[in-house]
Point group: C2
C-alpha cells in the first residue's frame, strides 16, 4: 500500500520508526511504502518509494530539505494531488482556531479517491459529518482511531465489539495531561508544580491550553458520540469547562470525603465536559495520564475500557492499526 | 441463517427471548431461524422453521414435550445430524467432570460442516486446540465469545482491537460470583452470608463450587491465553487455588492496609488462578459481580476492559454477537 505522510512531529516520526522495524505491521501481508512526505517546511515526493530509514535519519539529524527532490515551501495539498498513493496519513498538528490546512488536505484526498487515516482531532471535531459523507460519496475509507485515546482503541472497541446502533451514552476521562495534573494535585502539588512536572515528563505540551480548557476532551467526545451514538455534533455544541480554576483546596477537600475530582467528558442526549466529583471506585477513576471510557447500551450493558491516552508511539500504533484496517477493508483491488 | 439450539437454561432461553424481539439482531440482514432445539428431555426438529414464540411459551409454561414432533429422550447429536442448519448454538450446562455430551455435539457439528457458536466453557478449556484445528480443517467457524465474561466482549476486544500476535500476558478478575463474595466480605459479611446473598440475587448458582474453587476462572484464562497468546493450554495446566479457605479476618486486615483481596487469573508464561492482594487503585479492582481484564502487549501497551461478567441475558447477547460474526464472515454463500 502506498502512503503519503503529512506531518513529522512526534506521531509522524514514531510512525516512520514503527515502519522501519521489520516486525511491526499489524496484519500479515500489509506493506506500507512511503510515496511522499510533508512537514512544515515543504514536501518530498518520490516516483520510486522513499526510504523510511533515510527519512528518519534526515529528520532526526537536520531537515528533510537536504534530501534530493525536496520541494521547499511546497504545500501538502499539492503533494496529495501529485503523489501516486492509495492512502494519505494525516499527523498534522491539531489547531482548533485554524484547521484550514488539515481540512483542505482531507477533502482534497477524499475527492482524489485516496483513503484517509488521520490523527488530527480538529477537522474531525469541526467537520466530521461532511467528511464522512464525502468519504462515502467517493467510495473511500476515512479512519480516525488515533484521534481519541492515543494508543487505546476506544473507537475500534465501540464499533467492532458492541452491536452497531446500541450505544446510547458515553462517559469518560479523555485527556491524559489534565488527568495527570489532577492526580498529582490530589497528592499535594499545586497546579503549577503538577504542570511543570507533566512537561518535564513529556506528558504536557509546551502549550497545554487545549488540555486544561477541556477543548481536547470536547473534541474527543464529539468524535465518539458522532461515530457511536449517531449524532451530528460539532465542537461548538459541547458545554465545556476546564480545570484551570480548580484549586488544590477543592481537590484535597474532595479527597477527605473519599472522592476524586476528574475532568469528565460525557454524552447523554447532550455533550458536556466539566470537572466532576466522582467516587474513588468509579470505573473511570484512572490515575496519571491514563484515559478511561464507559460505554452504555440501550439494553443495559455497560463496558469500561482504559489505557494510556497519549504518547507519540502509542498514537502511531493506532495509526498503523487504521492502516491495517484500510488494507483489509479496501481489499487488494484498491491497494497496491 | 438456520440454527440449531442446544440447551434451554438461562442462556438458551434468553437467546430465544432476544430473537423474539424484532429489534434485537446486531447486524442488519441477520435473520436467525430455529431449525431445531434440544433440552435435557429430548429434541424438536422442524422441516419448517420452529416458531420462537411457541418455544419460549412451551418452555416457560411447562415443557417442550407438549409441542408436536418432540422426540422424548432424543439425543442432541442426532438433532445436529438431522436438522437442516447452518450453525449450531451450544448453551449446554458446563460440566468439567464430564463434558462428553458437549464435546460430542461440537465435533459432530464441525464434522458435518456446521458452524459452531458456544457458551460452554468446559469443552473449550479441555479440547480447544483440537476443536480449532477441526473447525479449520472442515472450513467452518467456531465462535466462543460467550465463554468468557458473559456479555463483556473480552475475546472480541483481544482479537479485533489489538494487533494479532502482540498480546504477551493477561491478568484479570474473571469470575463474577467469587468477586461478589469477596466484595461483600470486605464490607463485613462472612463467606456464608455473602454466598447466601449472592444466591438470593441470582448471582451464584445452586452449586457454586466451580466459582469458589477457581476452576471457572482457570477455564477462562485457558481460553483467553490460547486465543490471544498462542498457547495450547488445557485446564489441567493451570495452577489453581480458590477462595474457599479465605477468612473475613484476612480480607479486612488487607483493607486496613489499603489493599483488597481478589481472585486473580493470569497468564504470563504460565497460567495461574489464586487469591492475591492488590492495590485499591489497580485497574482490575472491580467490585460486585463485575469482571475486568488487563491485556499487556510486547510493545508496552496495556489496556483494561471491565463489565458485567455474568447473567443469562448478557451472555445471550454475546452469543448473538457471535452469530452476527458467523453471518458476516461465512458470507451469503454458506448461509441461507
Amino acid at each position: 500500500m502506498r502512503a503519503v505522510l503529512l506531518g513529522l512531529g512526534a506521531v509522524g516520526l514514531s510512525l516512520l520508526t514503527l515502519l522501519e522495524r521489520t516486525d511491526s505491521p499489524c496484519v500479515p501481508g500489509l506493506n506500507i511504502d512511503i510515496a511522499g512526505v510533508a512537514d512544515s517546511s515543504g514536501y518530498l515526493v518520490g516516483k520510486q518509494v522513499i526510504g523510511v530509514h533515510d527519512l528518519v535519519k534526515a529528520k532526526r539529524e537536520s531537515s528533510l530539505s537536504f534530501l534530493p527532490g525536496f520541494i521547499e515551501g511546497g504545500r501538502a495539498r499539492e503533494l496529495i494531488e501529485t503523489a501516486e498513493a492509495d492512502v494519505v496519513v494525516d499527523c498534522l498538528p491539531t489547531d482548533y482556531s485554524d484547521c484550514s490546512e488539515s481540512r483542505e488536505c482531507m477533502f482534497t484526498s477524499l475527492k482524489a479517491g485516496r483513503h484517509y487515516v488521520t490523527a488530527s482531532k480538529a477537522v474531525m471535531a469541526l467537520h466530521m459529518k461532511e467528511a464522512l459523507e464525502k468519504a462515502e460519496g467517493n467510495g473511500v475509507l476515512l479512519k480516525f482511531g488515533a484521534t481519541v485515546g492515543g494508543g487505546t482503541p476506544f473507537i475500534d472497541f465501540g464499533s467492532r465489539c458492541i452491536c452497531p446502533g446500541t450505544v446510547t451514552s458515553l462517559r469518560g476521562v479523555l485527556n491524559g495531561t489534565s488527568n495527570y495534573i489532577l492526580t498529582r494535585m490530589a497528592e499535594g502539588l499545586t497546579m503549577q508544580e503538577a504542570l511543570s512536572e507533566a512537561r518535564q515528563r513529556g506528558i504536557a505540551e509546551a502549550d497545554p491550553s487545549n488540555d486544561l480548557s477541556g477543548r481536547d476532551s470536547a473534541a474527543k467526545i464529539v468524535i465518539l458520540a458522532n461515530w457511536l451514538c449517531g449524532t451530528s455534533l460539532t465542537l461548538h455544541q459541547v458545554r465545556t469547562r476546564g480545570i484551570e480554576t480548580l484549586s488544590s483546596g477543592e481537590i484535597s477537600e474532595a479527597g477527605r470525603r473519599g472522592k476524586v475530582i476528574k475532568l469528565i467528558a460525557s454524552y447523554r442526549s447532550v455533550a458536556t465536559v466539566s470537572p466532576e466529583e466522582i467516587d474513588i471506585n468509579d470505573r473511570i477513576n484512572v490515575s496519571g495520564s491514563l484515559n478511561a471510557l464507559s460505554y452504555f447500551t440501550g439494553s443495559g450493558d455497560s463496558f469500561t475500557l482504559s489505557g494510556e491516552g497519549a504518547g507519540g508511539e502509542s498514537t502511531a500504533r493506532a495509526v498503523l492499526r487504521d492502516l491495517a484496517a484500510v488494507h483489509l477493508e479496501a481489499g487488494p483491488r484498491r491497494t497496491h
